[in-house]
Amino acid sequence: MPDEDPVVSEPRSTFRASLIRVFAVQIIALALLAVLQFSYPVF
């Protein structure tokens, strides 16, 4: 059996889901940091 093309081995929808998850986590992390910064500001 020929090697599967690794570039297309993952369905686009799976990658799109990963993309959305990573950015969701990233936005939550940045939002939490922003909350920390603005809740306890520099005096």
């Binding site: 090697d3 093309d5 690794p6 570039v7 081995s9 993952e10 990658f15 990963s18 993309l19 998850r21 990573v22 950015f23 986590v25 990233q26 992390a29 940045l30 940091l33 922003a34 920390l36 910064q37 809740s39 306890y40 500001p41 520099v42 005096f43």
Partner: protein, 556 residues
């Protein structure tokens, strides 16, 4: 240190060695030794990737930075999730699918032998030195804290690491990384819990004190190329830095080359994309909490015990006078901090906070004088920040937890060093020995040479670490040269994915990229280093593409 703490450290070291040797089964081919037979599950590779990046400097220096400078350092990681996604669809499938042992081997398949050899040589040069630095950083701190010669602390870190890396190869290293990562996270969480319990004020008040001094400022949106940590340098420069590090540095590439499939390799990188920022925030938060803790508990004027002893010996009277002034001001600051924490209404809170910040400025001024005194007496940079956490761990944590944290520091050091040693050994054997010296030997022969190469690089790292102080300027030069080509090598790999590029474009593009970065570095020295990666990668892409087109397209 209490014997129970020593016992924890000894048990950890013994476990790492025994487990490493146990995991060395079935590593009788170079594919098994260097790539774990491409059988590692994604989560093992993911934890190994994270453990490799988390060195002892992260455990000691980064919380220290959190204590003195706050959490703004975290901005450097803002580009990491994006970098991981880009790598997942670009370099990872190319490298994993091509069946290579090293990232540089792929460059010969795509371009030519000279591009491969140049990039591999640059890797050996910079990583060979940096593995010594990675070992020296905790070695110097542990030697100062415990009052033992540097060579002992270097040996404590180096010998077990070389042993399990040499015997078990990537398989042993990756599985050791998993356990080390768990130990590191447990140690960090335990410290946060202890700090919150022992803090004499409520967590919200602790955060208010930290925030008032600017230590909770995570974002700096100014677009200033000379400022190292800003949102933009993290998002743009940081993305390029992470692309270079995770995409082209053999110490990272080798982790995901060992994954069981392309999807497993991608998932392992996504693990970092999810967890790196929260983990780094935790590390910095430990430092911020230690800063607040020392508002209510007397801290030493100088955290570095070696410098403190030297200053006492040579400038005893001046240091004593500073110490007295420091003690008196500390009492005033502690009262002000308590008043700021307890203040009820908004007006009294503002007044109390103002008084606290004035006393804090007084303390910083006295500490500044003490640091100048230390630098004058010892003739070296104080680096006092690196000793804040070790002193805190040794004198303020309960018995058992001190040992756990020191085992965590050793784990962080060992996981990074082991990855460097395997990657240095792999590159030496695959890109040089097998490529240029002997290409027709059997696996048993290459395995022997690989183990010998691991031991060689281990000894080399120990020697560099032991003489790190005297090699200071040399190491700085090598690190500086290293920063010239990091982004440029990334440019070569991106060029490799462009169908019309060729070896001539890649080779001369790489040299041009490094030259331009060197020009930027010396021509405009104020530009923060994160931007060098962007300049290098873009130059290589542009010059490489133009030269490839002039030369008539792909030779591959």
């Amino acid at each position: 240190m209490h014997w129970i703490n020593w016992l924890i450290v000894v048990v950890y070291l013994a476990y790492v060695i025994i487990d490493g040797i146990r995991k060395s089964k079935d590593t009788d081919t170079i594919r098994a030794y260097f790539l774990a037979s491409k059988r590692l599950p994604w989560w093992v590779v993911g934890l190994s990737v994270m453990a490799t990046q988390l060195s002892a400097i992260t455990m000691i220096g980064t919380p220290g930075q959190g204590a003195t400078d706050g959490i703004r350092f975290i901005q450097i990681y803002f580009g990491l999730p994006l970098a991981m996604l880009i790598l997942g669809v670009t370099l990872v499938p190319f490298l994993h699918g091509s069946g290579v042992y090293t990232a540089y081997e792929y460059l010969e398949n795509r371009f030519d032998a000279r591009t491969r050899s140049l990039t591999a040589f640059l890797f050996l040069l910079s990583r060979g030195m940096s593995v010594g630095v990675i070992m020296a950083a905790p070695g110097v701190v542990l030697s100062a804290i415990f009052g033992v010669p540097l060579i002992w602390s270097v040996a404590l870190i180096g010998v077990p690491t070389v042993l399990y890396t040499m015997v078990g190869g990537v398989q042993a290293v990756a599985w050791a990384d998993v356990k080390q990562m768990v130990l590191i996270i447990v140690a960090l969480l335990a410290i946060v819990v202890v700090l919150l319990i022992e803090m004499p004020v409520r967590p919200a008040d602790a955060m208010r004190i930290a925030g008032a001094t600017g230590r909770l400022e995570a974002f700096d949106f100014s677009f200033d190329l000379t400022e190292t940590y800003t949102f933009w340098s993290g998002m743009i420069g940081g993305t390029f830095l992470m692309l270079s590090y995770f995409g082209t540095d053999q110490s990272q590439v080798q982790r995901y080359l060992a994954a069981e499939s392309v999807d497993a390799a991608r998932s392992s990188l996504l693990m970092s994309a999810y967890w790196k920022i929260p983990l780094q925030a935790l590390v910095l938060l430990v430092g911020v909490l230690v800063f607040v803790y020392y508002q209510f508990t007397p801290a030493p004027l100088l955290f570095n015990p070696t410098h403190e002893t030297a200053v006492l010996a040579e400038q005893g009277a001046a240091y004593d006078a500073l110490q007295q002034e420091y003690s008196a001001t500390f009492t005033l600051r502690e009262q002000a901090a308590r008043a700021a924490a307890d203040a009820g209404d908004e007006t009294s809170a503002a007044g109390a906070m103002e008084t606290f910040l004035a006393r804090e400025a007084d303390i910083q001024a006295i500490r500044g004088e003490a640091l100048s005194l230390a630098e004058e007496v010892t003739g070296e940079a104080s680096r006092d920040t690196n000793y804040i956490i070790p002193r805190f761990v040794l004198y303020e944590l309960p018995i058992g937890l001190t040992g756990l944290f020191i085992a965590g520091v050793l784990a962080a050091a060992m996981s990074s060093i082991a990855a460097e040693l395997t990657s240095l050994s792999t590159t030496s054997v695959i890109d040089f020995y097998r490529r240029w010296v002997k290409d027709d030997a059997d696996d048993a022969h290459y395995l022997k040479v690989s183990r010998a190469a691991t031991v060689f690089w281990g000894i080399f790292a120990c020697v560099v670490a032991t003489y790190a102080a005297t090699l200071g300027s040399l190491i700085e030069v090598v690190n500086e040269v290293g920063s010239f080509f990091y982004g440029s090598i990334l440019g070569v790999f991106f060029l490799a994915m462009m169908p019309r590029s060729n070896g001539t474009g890649a080779f001369w593009g790489l040299l041009m990229g490094m030259s331009v970065v060197a020009g930027v570095r010396y021509g405009t020295p104020d530009v923060a280093y994160l931007w060098h990666n962007v300049v290098g990668a873009v130059t290589v892409l542009v010059v490489g593409s133009v030269l490839s087109r002039l030369g008539g397209g792909s030779e591959a």
